[in-house]
Symmetry: C2
Subunit: 461 residues, 2 copies
Amino acid sequence: MSKVQDYIDSHKDHFKEELFELLRIPSISTNSDHKGDVLDAAHYLVDRLEALDLDRVELFETDGNPIVFGELITDESKPTVLVYGHYDVQPPDPLGKWDTPPFEPTVRNGNIYARGASDDKGQSFTHVKALEAYRKTDSKFPVNIKFIFEGEEEIGSPHLVPFIKEHKEMLECDMVLISDTAMFAEDTPSLTYGLRGLAYMEVDVVGPNRDLHSGVYGGAVDNPANVMAEIISKLKDEDGVIQIPGFYDDVVELDEEEREEYTKLPFDEEGFKKDLGLDTLHGEEGYSTLERTSARPSLDVNGLWSGYQGEGAKTVLPSEAGAKISMRLVPDQDPKEIARLFKEYVESLAPESVDVTVTEHHGGHPIVTDLSFYGLQAAAEAFKNVYDKEPLFTREGGSIPIVADFENVLGAQSILMGFGLNSDAIHSPNEKFALKDFYRGISTSAKFFELLPKYALQPEH
Amino acid sequence: MSKVQDYIDSHKDHFKEELFELLRIPSISTNSDHKGDVLDAAHYLVDRLEALDLDRVELFETDGNPIVFGELITDESKPTVLVYGHYDVQPPDPLGKWDTPPFEPTVRNGNIYARGASDDKGQSFTHVKALEAYRKTDSKFPVNIKFIFEGEEEIGSPHLVPFIKEHKEMLECDMVLISDTAMFAEDTPSLTYGLRGLAYMEVDVVGPNRDLHSGVYGGAVDNPANVMAEIISKLKDEDGVIQIPGFYDDVVELDEEEREEYTKLPFDEEGFKKDLGLDTLHGEEGYSTLERTSARPSLDVNGLWSGYQGEGAKTVLPSEAGAKISMRLVPDQDPKEIARLFKEYVESLAPESVDVTVTEHHGGHPIVTDLSFYGLQAAAEAFKNVYDKEPLFTREGGSIPIVADFENVLGAQSILMGFGLNSDAIHSPNEKFALKDFYRGISTSAKFFELLPKYALQPEH
């Protein structure tokens, strides 16, 4: 292993330069204008994999963005790890709030600043570089490895599930390795064993057939923006309890033991508030901040628009109003069912005086992984070895819908080996990824592959 | 008079061409990028007035957009009419909804389509052309006339009131003539004797110091967009009654007689709904549609924005939300007082978890004019003469704050001689003005000037 670690230690700049090349590609999947960039990012990964002399590297076209696959089988008797990552990124807006351009990666006080630095280019690239450390030092790779990189994670992976169903044999594996989550805190490695699910909706309210003069018509015609506000205000009560009938029916309540574990986590609520510039937090009555963000469902308006948004005052009674609203889900809530309940409820709130349309964007299932799984144990020791700390086992608030899909289609559990931080500002301006964690991530990945065969032989505990 | 009318009849194309030149100038006062265009519009009017060989034509600079003044004194013993109009226009957005470009005036089925066609370039230009008909036919102009055209009406005339206060003598007059309102219906001339006032507010809600990932933070951090919806939902109840404490205190209730008059107006509610593409109207419980839009106050969201408004789904918990909200006022509500009550109430609704800021845009006083005023009687006969119909006396929902200011500063009542239609879609895409009403407007204006001296000698009735 020392040869491998030595290679990692001596090739940091080379790793960084290659990651920067990837970060410079604005592969924004939510905006069709960037289709070409998304394609460039895929080809860049193909090139990096081909440089590692694998058994197979292939770019699969889909009806959307392509899927990059790579494979190296060293010994059928050894475990096979499927590394999953995504090379697409969120839009950078609001652009004005970036200190340096989102697609010109810059290092400041030890952090790489760029859209995708943490989510997920920087994190997923660690495993490619870990494999490189073995290949370039003629070290026998300890396990079998497969890579699958998609370009549609930020739009709900519409083509990934059909793809894995279609290529079950090709993707057969003992576990999925994903680095797309955050460590609990700086220098505090964590293995995420729970993720929230997602139901993402869009509501459109249409009133008069054109924007009207608010003086001539105001008072006699229902206003879609006012109606939208009415509807949104009825989704939660003042205690942060979601009002959609049946919403909580399938929620698995935390038992006392779990709640006890939560209290042991080194969480600094004051620091959390300070980082957000907030004096007061607000959430579901009766639960702690950590419980609210990981073990309880939530509902948030993600976008809202109507009428005149420009400078000055325009006395218009708008013809339409729109909102994007998403819900984070916990076991055993089903995204499709929640979407149905949301639609039913919102439509029931719609007054006769307007037309209300509810449409469903992507969703994902919540998951909780078995803590005794040997892959998870190996990952824990790898973390301990590199960070010199016992990793925490945590649940996260974000959603990685694909984790549930891998479990359902391939029967494989996922190991969420996160190297990011919650303060990485993913999906926000000035997204960052700590350079040291990019390097430690590569080492941890390499160590994980080394340790895995040993754990595979142990009885599960 | 026949000479004058003959001139009008024989110069229609010339009038239209000149109006089109004015309409081609995108003099949008709400957007500072158009400052130059606004200036061009002012100079265009100066040129048109100078062509009429008046005693005085002058462009007055202000700290904002200039004010155009013109004057012709024919006989001190005759009444003096101050014609007021505005050469600035509303923004054209949403641009995509125009059938022809907003600043390329086009005639379709008898209508001029262009931003400002009706509000107010087309309407106010009629009086300039009426005067031209006298000047170009060597007819003695029957009264004294002054013109005042401003370029900031759509942003609340911030510099007009200081200007008229500063130039009281120059602007001294017996009445103000304004064409910036609508006829009750096609071929149904109306004299507007009442206007609603306006209080225009902006509300900003700020939560976390940056946009957040809705998965990582959702559930623990209050969402400014949800809070904004809460606030807006508390401004009116389900019966359309405004909930701001004290809001109705100064409202003069309609007496039975007035309500009786309202029922006599030829209002086609089905046609009104059909024109708007609505099945159901909604407004304050207990009042008719006409009462709601003219004699009762109203509150409408004019603009609303937060978070991600683009294509697809962005799972963001927005840092900010904003709204533009305006209220139409009736006698004796005071805009400043209403703005204060609004601010007080909205601030009282703000939860600790966010910062809520309420700012005031422009406002205006509601007015009701004395029906026995001789200028109004002369205007009525002029209408009858040209349209061959007794004009209706109506109250309108829109606001012309300057009318109250003229009364307060110059002690002059206003005659609201509207040639437009409510269906002109002012402030909306595809604004129009009927060509025939542009021409009939010129004739009515010319007739009004002819009749005015006679009425001036009659005892008021």
